[in-house]
Amino acid sequence: MINNIEDEIREMVSKILEVPVEELAPGVDFFKDLNVDSLKAIEIVAAFEKKYRIIVPEDDIPKIRNLGQLIEYTKNITS
């Protein structure tokens, strides 16, 4: 189950950012390393919210800066 969520999220982010899955190491910074702009960030959040039917509070968004944090965040929310 846990692995499934990880794979799902990695695939979702890879599709939106047009970055191959293998380049998406958990610690790679979305903004510094992958040049994600605010629009892309919103797109990730929107896709994430739609997939898991949850609403990410505004204050939580800036805390998620890489894939590892996003996966961790999802695990906390879905557990």
Binding site: I16, E18, L39, I42, E43, V45, A46, E49, K50, R53, I55
Partner: protein, 381 residues
């Protein structure tokens, strides 16, 4: 306003019957139609099935594939046509001249696809889960802005949405900018893309050929019974002649006269006396260097017979066609002309193009909403 001499130096076309100026011109010359059964959406609920759809367009041939995901169809079409036009004009856009170059685009219906998709999401998933990525493409000036962003054009960026006359109105706006000496060169574009929304809308208003007759785009023919919708993008580079000469550009033609006029009659009805159109033509003649006495013969041709009604992009397709006419010495035909109508008794260049030298072309844009515009393109020597 000090009037500058303005010339056309570049061209990019994505039309239903040809991608790129060469293919477009040869299709026009041979009277090849771009009308075909629609593939982009399901037309089984309609009596009509045809449109001037662009089916063999591969945006990755013009634009980098990374980032295409975020670009809706209208922006893909316009950015690709703009790229062709910039290359054709051999215009090097850099930090030094970026403020001297602008973008002006005519479009009206082109964002409807994204609007519809966004709303579908709102209905299906609820307003909190709509697709944020669709939102930037939901505004009318999205495509025009994408051109500026992609090619780093900073002079100005404007979208003109005046329906059927948008193309020439956009051109006029750009010309005024050059005359005011606020800019030296402008990418003037026209773009529309087919969507279920505009197809269904025009169908429900009863505008389509095929509802009450043959489903055929046959202007001036007795069987004509409405329009067939088209799509595509056409971009021309116009510039101050002085600037064009200074940078050694290849000049296609010169902008001679232009005029526009709104006639207030009734929503969805042409003015019975065509007062606005007449006034537009007169204005275009007045500010050209032509005299009515110099015009001895006027053949009338409608390229809509081959590409359909492309609405706000229509005028730019006509300009692209007219540049080809002058350059390759032919008048494109009005195809599907078979049954004569006594009310239409002019020379329509029926079915076959005519080989002849062309020095001046008058282009008219007008629609049943009151907007009218006319433009004279002349040979540059």
């Amino acid at each position: 306003m000090d009037t500058r001499k303005i010339v056309v130096t570049g061209l990019g076309v994505i039309a239903p019957n040809g991608i790129g100026k060469e293919e477009f011109w040869s299709s026009l010359k041979e009277g090849r139609s771009g009308i075909k059964p629609v593939k982009r959406f399901d037309t089984s609920g309609f009596k009509c099935k045809l449109a001037g759809e662009i089916q063999d367009f591969k945006p990755e041939e013009f634009l980098e594939s990374k980032g295409l995901r975020d670009l809706e169809r209208t922006s893909r079409l316009l950015c690709s046509a703009a790229k062709m036009a910039i290359e054709d004009a051999d215009l090097d856009i850099n930090e030094k001249n970026t403020d001297d170059i602008g973008v002006c685009t005519g479009t009206t219906l082109s964002s409807l696809w994204n609007v519809a998709e966004f709303n579908k999401g709102a209905i299906q998933d609820g307003p909190r889960f709509t697709d944020a990525a669709l939102f930037p493409g939901m505004v009318m000036n999205a495509a025009s802005s994408q051109v500026s962003i992609r090619y780093n054009i900073q002079g100005f960026n404007t979208t003109i949405s005046t329906g059927y006359s948008s193309s020439i109105d956009a051109l006029k706006y750009a010309i005024d900018f050059i005359n005011l000496r606020r800019i030296k060169a402008v990418l003037v574009g026209g773009v529309e893309s087919l969507s279920l929304v505009n197809y269904s809308g025009f169908y429900r208003l009863g505008f389509f050929a095929g509802i009450k007759g043959e489903e055929l785009s046959c202007p001036f023919d007795k069987r004509r019974n409405g329009i067939l919708l088209g799509e595509g993008a056409s971009v021309v580079v116009i510039e101050d002649e002085e600037y064009a000469l200074e940078r050694g550009a290849n000049i296609y033609a010169r902008v001679n006269g232009i005029g526009n006029c709104f006639d207030t009659f009734k929503m969805g009805k042409y003015h019975p006396e065509a007062t606005g159109l007449k006034e537009s033509i007169k204005e275009a003649m007045r500010n050209s260097d032509l005299d009515v006495s110099e015009i001895d013969y006027i053949p009338v041709s409608s390229i809509k017979s081959m590409i359909g009604e492309s609405f706000s992009a229509g005028g730019l397709f006509q300009i692209a066609a007219s540049v080809g006419s002058m350059y390759e010495s032919f008048i494109p035909p009005t195809i599907n002309y078979e049954v004569r109508d006594d009310d239409c008794d002019l020379d329509y260049v029926a079915n076959k193009s005519r080989i002849t030298r062309i020095n001046n072309v008058l282009i008219n844009n007008y629609g049943p909403g009151g907007s009218n515009a006319a433009f004279i393109l002349s040979k540059w020597n």
